[in-house]
């Protein structure tokens, strides 16, 4: 039975695609056959983040419309054996996604994949609603910043009311909070909401905290999912998050600022 995981946030630019790529890659690295689907029709970017932008021939909408088979549209990752990408259409708009069409594709994917990661577009319109509708679990990506936290709360409300599980009265979607772009130093200075603050407000279990990291931009520049950069703080934090998603217990890391030397403490910087 395939597990459908939506990566969502409401707000744009908080790290949904970065997180989808990292989590999908992390699951595949552990041997699970995984597909990451880009639901951002018209503004696809997962292909760039995962370095397969030049290999896109057919897309998600082509499969929905029976213009291509799933096997024609799926792109096999060149680094991780069990990882596939289903890119979004760049020329169509979000109305091209229908609930029946998405369901048909998900059912077919579920026959061969263990994990289906749905990379949601920003907003709360059709694309975002389609990405979360069939989900079993949701990763709510949030920055420690007021507009992101508010939008995450809104998305959590939508998971509770507009998903298939909610509409059919099944067990609710399992929710996970993924706090990204976290800067422990600014938290300690009282300039940024801390993990506990965000958790107090959103009240969903914490999956992980990804520190603000140079590695994220460096990786996206090159089309490398940051989890493959196993020496980096962000890569390790995603690694921990994937373990927790699979049910392992891992202590939270990167929650405190690195200790500074005597001079830095005296004179700031």
């Amino acid at each position: 039975m395939a597990k459908i995981i939506v990566v969502t946030s409401g707000k744009g630019g908080v790290g949904k695609t970065t997180s989808s790529a990292a989590i999908g890659t992390g699951l595949a690295l552990r041997g699970h056959k995984t597909v990451v689907i880009d639901f951002d029709v018209g503004l696809r970017n997962l292909d760039l983040i995962m370095n397969c932008e030049r290999r896109v021939v057919y897309d998600f909408i082509n499969v929905v419309n029976n213009e291509a088979t799933l096997n024609q549209a799926l792109i096999k990752d060149k680094r991780v054996e069990t990882l596939y990408i289903l890119p979004a259409s760049q020329t169509r708009d979000k109305d091209a996604l229908t609930r029946e069409g998405v369901e048909k594709v998900l059912i077919e994917l579920a026959e061969t994949f263990e994990y289906i990661v749905c990379d949601s577009p920003a907003g709360i319109e059709k694309g975002a609603l389609m990405a979360l509708y069939f989900a079993d679990e949701a990763v709510v990506v949030t920055n420690p910043e007021v507009s992101s936290v508010r939008d995450s709360d809104r998305i959590i409300g939508i998971l509770h009311s507009k998903s298939r599980r909610a509409e059919t009265g099944q067990e609710p979607i399992k929710e996970h909070l993924l706090l990204t772009r976290y800067d422990p130093e600014r938290v300690e200075l009282g300039e940024m909401l801390g993990v506990k603050d965000v958790q107090d407000i959103l009240a969903i279990p914490l999956l992980g905290v990804i520190p603000e990291s140079e590695a994220v931009l460096k990786c996206s520049n090159q089309g490398i999912p940051v989890i493959l950069e196993s020496q980096s703080d962000a890569g390790q934090a995603y690694e921990d998050a994937v373990s927790r998603l699979l049910g392992d217990e891992r202590p939270m890391r990167f929650l405190t600022a690195p200790k500074k030397g005597f001079f830095k403490r005296m004179f700031g910087g």
Binding site: D153, G157, G190, G194, I201, M266
Partner: protein, 84 residues
């Protein structure tokens, strides 16, 4: 870690706690609105039409909300009538 010179800077309430307080208020407000049934705005509009037949009231003069307690729901309708 605050530096030595920070002690001489003015101490305002830190901005993170301001953020948390503002979020708690707005999120609580939005959650309570979210729990209201979909038909409420339409109901409010129709009630306004009926009331308008008899007295002059504006959209803002009427408020409607549903409070759910343990085993009963209360539909609360508040109309501010114009002064005579």
């Amino acid at each position: 870690m605050a530096s030595f010179f920070d002690y001489f800077r003015s101490r305002k309430p830190n901005s993170a706690s301001v953020a948390k307080e503002r979020l708690q208020i707005i999120v609580a407000h939005e959650r309570s609105q979210r729990q209201q049934p979909d038909y409420l705005p339409a109901l409010q509009k129709e009630l306004l039409e009926v009331i308008k037949k008899y007295v002059q009231v504006a959209q803002d003069d009427i408020s409607i909300q549903i409070d759910n307690t343990d085993n009963c729901s209360v539909l609360e309708l508040n109309i501010t009538l114009p002064e005579k």
